[in-house]
Amino acid sequence: MLEIRNLHARVDGKDILRGLTLSVNAGEVHALMGPNGSGKSTLAYLIAGRAGYERTDGEILYQGRDLLAMNVEERAREGVFLGFQYPVEIPGVSALTFLKSSVNAVRKHRGLAEYDAMEFLKVVREKAKQLDMPDGLLQRPVNVGFSGGEKKRHEIFQMALLEPTLALLDETDSGLDIDALRVVASGINRLRDPSRAILVITHYQRLLDYVVPDRIHVMAQGRLVKSGDKTLAAELEKTGYAGLGAAA
């Protein structure tokens, strides 16, 4: 699903990724961990297509295709989803309007009929119920006045609606209390699927108590320094990143 080969990238002229190699297969959940500044978010933004993030060497293949050759919206329509660490507030645009534009853009690309307002409302209500998403939140402007937990739940909710084939979740657990963390984790687990690959980027291992990954990778200074199965999280808990020679 996702093949990253010898990836080098820079941001604002500064080299951040230095030869990252990583692959995630359909049906798997991987966790990408590492200290601040190790390049986790840079990878997420590069995959999503943020301006200013420049690949200098290597490649990213998504379903065997050159991901970086696609523009931002194409990637999304082809099934790549990035859950933001800091979701953006958009005053004046209701979450419902935003979600409808998003879902219909993706459906259109996939050759499916676009939802009209009534159909969409039905779909949203159903999903909201499944994910315990308060209805009132969707009438409000996108992320405006949402608590930290609500913003992250809104990200997971978008992911559920868009049904991506590759989902990257960038520090989706940061700033959440234990209850919000549980809700977010159950939202992720619900999306585990043989046809879907999920890459969870996290600084802390506590999310991994709820979302048990198939593989864990530790990143430092722009490349992977260690990979292993779920037991690696417990090991990290004991030794810290320093113990793995991965201190920032």
Binding site: E73, A76, V88
Partner: protein, 457 residues
């Protein structure tokens, strides 16, 4: 020739100088005077004569005047408008269909080239105490109601465009709502220009809201000509709201980009009255909305809101004067502008707090979104505070679309143009959402969507 006029000639713009214009307008007035509605009424003739003389004396405003500092009327001076309304064109209903208000029962008055068209108009349910009439009809009948109420608001007679309107006013609406009457159905005044070159329409609208009444007014200005046709709308609206009256005053201006649109609104508010205004403009080559509100009592809530969507070489000017004459009233202003290409916007907001107007709460905000490097926004707050126990604030912002927000939307599959449009809609939509009538919100949003659908990729 008075000195003041001769001096203004120095600014003389283009092919016509201010004196040329004054002389030409006077000639047109003399030629058409006998054919104007109410021509047999002596007091009205005197009013018109006085107005044309005042216009001749001041001439067209120039940028030397503080109130016109950022708006250049040179292009206006280059067009010879036919100020007296000729026989209006016949327009079929389907050609104006898209400008009509939908969804709820309402009163609909349609004016073609400034003249009331009964065949396209329809009044809704009329509660006792509500009068809605064509101004021409009232004047032709002797104009008694008009004469009785005319002095109640009083637009500044020395304002050039208001004076010009008074001289030439041929039609418009006279609305009176009796004490305590709540008019449920919005009153929609639709002004359509048929598109003949150099047509001028000068509608006059009177709203007399007696104590404790409530009404919603919607004015739509549109044209069915080609986009480039040069036309002039010079509208004057006078609103008198007695104590406790609630007046909602909404407006949509979607004329073609060859049009000059000058609108002057004078509002006088009694104690505890509520005046809510929102004006959306997407059309006209030059648009000026000028509002003068006098808060003549306590407990008044006066809200002036508006939005312009501009592109090409469009120029829009919002000039407001809020006069807090008595203690304990609130005013709130929020104007937004979206500018693409080489468009220009002007906001001038003057707030006057008289010595008696203690405990005044006045807030003013002007926000501009620039979509192009060539666009320009000028913002000028002017607070004149003569009382010491007041709360007054003002702010202005000029910025671009947030790249972060555009990126966020694109990562959700929304293409760049749609993402930008969604953000623009949100920027303006915040104000549209405050409009109290759902059907009016839709009416305004449709004009906004139509503007957005023509935006660049």
């Amino acid at each position: 020739m008075p000195d003041s006029v001769r001096r203004r000639n120095a600014d003389g713009a283009g092919s016509l100088t201010t004196t040329d214009i004054a002389a030409s307008y006077k000639r047109q007035f003399a030629a058409s005077r006998a054919g104007l509605p109410g021509a047999g009424l002596r007091w009205l003739n005197d009013l018109r004569d006085d107005a044309i003389e005042r216009f001749a004396l001041t001439g067209l405003p120039t940028q030397r005047l503080e109130d016109w500092k950022y708006t250049n009327l040179t292009p206006f001076a280059k067009t010879q408008f036919n100020l007296a309304t000729a026989a209006p064109a016949r327009i079929d209903r389907e050609r104006i269909e898209r400008f009509l208000l939908r969804g709820v029962p309402h009163h609909q008055l349609v004016f073609i080239d400034g003249r009331y068209d009964a065949s396209l108009s329809q009044l809704g349910t009329m509660p006792a105490g509500l009068v809605i009439r064509s101004l021409a009809a009232i004047l032709d009948e002797g104009g008694e109601e008009f004469a009785e109420h005319f002095p109640r608001v009083g637009v500044n007679r020395d304002q050039a465009f208001a004076a010009l309107n008074t001289a030439f006013m041929a039609d418009g609406a006279f609305i009176r709502v009796g004490r305590g009457v709540c008019v449920e159905e919005p009153i929609h005044l639709l002004f359509v220009t048929s598109g003949a070159t150099a047509t001028a329409t000068q509608p006059r609208i009177f709203v007399i809201a007696e104590a404790g009444c409530a009404l919603t007014l919607l004015q739509t200005y549109a044209d069915v000509g080609t986009d480039e046709t040069s036309s002039l709308t010079n509208a004057v609206t006078e609103i008198s709201a007695a104590p406790g009256a609630i007046v909602r005053d909404y407006k949509l201006q979607r004329e073609g980009t060859g049009a000059f649109h000058i609108a002057t609104t004078a509002v006088r508010l009694g104690s505890d009255a509520v005046y809510d205004s929102f004006a959306l403009a997407v059309g006209a080559r030059l648009c000026r909305n000028e509002i003068h509100a006098v808060l003549d009592g306590g407990g008044i809530g006066c809200r002036l809101k508006g939005a312009h969507l501009l592109r090409g070489r469009q120029h829009a000017d919002t000039t407001t004067v809020i006069d807090h004459a008595r203690a304990g009233s609130r005013s709130e202003e929020d104007y937004k502008c979206v500018l693409d290409d080489a468009a220009r916007s002007v906001f001038q907001g003057r707030i006057i707090v008289r010595p008696d107007a203690q405990k005044t709460d006045a807030r003013q905000m002007n926000r501009n979104l620039l979509l192009s490097r060539q666009a320009q926004a000028d913002s000028k707050p002017e607070l004149r505070i003569e009382a010491d126990d007041v709360k007054c604030s003002h702010g202005a912002t000029i910025g671009e679309l947030d790249a972060n927000s555009v990126f966020y939307l694109r990562t959700r599959g929304i293409d760049e143009k749609a993402a930008r449009n969604l953000l623009i809609e949100g920027f303006i939509g915040e104000l549209v959402d405050e409009v109290h009538v759902g059907s009016v919100q839709v009416h305004l949003r449709q004009a906004m969507w139509s503007w957005l659908s023509r935006s660049r990729a």
